[in-house]
């Protein structure tokens, strides 16, 4: 069976094919394709998705060694994401399914991330604790099965990835913030400055806005307003900030591991690329003797492989969807988390 996955919820366009349970292609627009398919692509443009989606599909099918008529199921991200971007992949997927007369499966982008550990050889074991950390989302969930997900907590303000980006900007480190902070932090002392971790009403929720403000306050008090941070001080500030983010995440993970019986822990989403975070979670997982699954970098960011995988499970479980299924931009509607 050949499952086609399409992802266009935000900046990346991606097309993937899973053949008989095996991922055979996973092409992502941000990886060299801008060059191949014509110059600079604006970051947030549905036109960019439109331009690239057909060539991506063609290349993806070639790489998978199948033709369009061999596709058995078409899956596409329906939300959450930017509405204009979502509509490109979703409408393309629906049209493709209609013209091929094959079933169409809409996929929740966050559920794609949650189950992305299954793209690895070593897979999570149900029930497992999933920590989703990306530019737009920070979620802690218990995944009991393919069909049952319990949301424990989410961010009440900024997402973890957003905190990285904004603090990098304050420090003058540039974009993307995650890798820049990680690089600076690797040379710094994380114990140098104490940045606070928020305490919230729901003990599983996260908050990073206060941390952002604490960094701002520190910079202002230490260097004065609107002054550049001396290069020499950068590593300690970055390391101390990164430590506070990781502490906030790990605190809730530990709470959940004490409270809930799970077999595995999985770290997913773009921020899962952060090395210090991976190491911290590995320590916690080993302390509680849980299997740890962190997908490869290529499956941490936005990708269609996870959409094809999630769609294939929904299909296998007998779910059917009509072609008038609509895109949903927010997390609150039509999602497990709603």
């Amino acid at each position: 069976m050949n499952v086609l996955g399409i992802e266009s919820s935000c900046d990346e366009t991606s097309v993937a094919v899973i053949r008989d349970g095996k991922l055979t292609s996973n092409l992502i627009s941000s990886q060299d394709f801008h060059v191949k398919y014509g110059g600079v692509v604006p970051e947030l443009s549905s036109r960019a998705h439109l331009q690239i989606i057909i060539p991506l599909l063609k290349d993806s099918l070639v790489q998978a060694g199948i033709g369009l008529k061999d596709v058995d199921v078409v899956c596409a991200t329906a939300g959450p994401g930017l509405i204009g971007a979502l509509l490109v992949g979703l409408t393309f997927g629906k049209s493709l399914a209609y013209s091929l007369n094959k079933p169409f499966i809409p996929v929740n982008h966050i559920e794609g991330h949650i189950f992305s550990g299954f793209l690895m050889d070593e897979k999570p074991e149900f029930p497992y604790l999933a920590l989703v950390v990306s530019g737009g989302h920070t979620l802690l969930l218990i995944v009991k099965s393919d069909t049952e997900i319990i949301k424990l907590g989410t961010t009440v303000d900024d997402a973890a990835g957003e905190a990285f980006d904004k603090v990098a900007k304050m420090l003058g480190l540039g974009y993307p913030g995650g890798p820049k902070i990680q690089k600076a932090a690797s040379l710094g002392d994380p114990e140098k400055i104490h940045f606070p971790v928020a305490n919230l009403k729901n003990p599983y929720d996260f908050s990073f806005s206060g941390l952002k403000t604490a960094v701002l306050r520190y910079l202002q008090q230490t260097y004065g307003k609107d002054k550049a941070v001396p290069d020499g001080d950068m590593p300690d500030i970055a390391a101390s900030f990164q430590k506070a983010v990781i502490k906030a995440l790990m605190q809730n993970v530990e709470k959940a591991l004490k409270e809930y019986k799970v077999n595995s822990v999985s770290l997913v989403g773009g921020v899962a690329a952060n090395r210090a975070l991976r190491e911290a979670l590995a320590q916690v997982a080993s302390k509680y003797r849980k299997k740890l699954v962190i997908p490869d970098f290529v499956y941490c960011g936005d990708n269609a492989a996870m959409i094809a995988y999630r769609g294939s499970r929904l299909f296998a479980n007998g779910n059917k969807y009509s072609l008038d299924y609509n895109a949903f931009p927010g997390l609150s509607s039509k999602t497990f988390a709603g």
């Binding site: 970051e43 947030l44 900024d158 202002q220």
Partner: protein, 142 residues
């Protein structure tokens, strides 16, 4: 509160009180542009304000560009921080959002794209003082 209006706030509680006071002027349909640096308190202000409209799930729209909420009235919460070009904004249907007459619209980082702002709007600016208090000022633009 009569515009122009300015206040100094020293704490989150004072921000909440000011946001509450300002919210009494809003009925839906207004466009509120918020300007100020990172960490100046724009999202926080909106969060406190919207509690008065039975909305308690306000989070940062930086990544999503726009969050939509439904409480006792409808709210669009935009953030221009990540927008590089006006085309990107039109691409997500910005103009359509603004035609919804009963909807209250907030735009964070509005000064990044002044050319798209409707001529009639309320502007709020946030300045962080040296002692970390905030100067929050309101003005009516028409």
């Amino acid at each position: 509160m009569e515009f122009p209006f300015a206040a100094k706030v020293n704490s989150e509680e004072e921000t909440a009180r000011l946001a509450g006071e300002f919210s009494e002027l809003l009925q839906g349909g207004e466009i509120v542009a918020l300007n100020g640096d990172l960490g100046a308190g724009k999202t926080s202000f909106i969060k406190h304000l919207l509690r008065n409209f039975e909305i308690d799930n306000v989070s940062s729209p930086t990544f999503a560009i726009v969050n939509e909420y439904q409480g006792s009235l409808k709210v669009n919460h935009f953030d221009f921080y990540r927008i590089n070009k006006v085309e990107e904004l039109y691409d997500i249907g910005f103009e359509e959002y603004l035609t919804r007459e009963d909807t209250l619209t907030f735009i964070e980082w509005a000064d990044l794209l002044p050319e798209v702002l409707p001529s009639k709007r309320i502007e709020i600016s946030f300045v962080v003082n040296d002692d970390f208090s905030r100067e929050i000022s309101f003005k009516n633009i028409s």
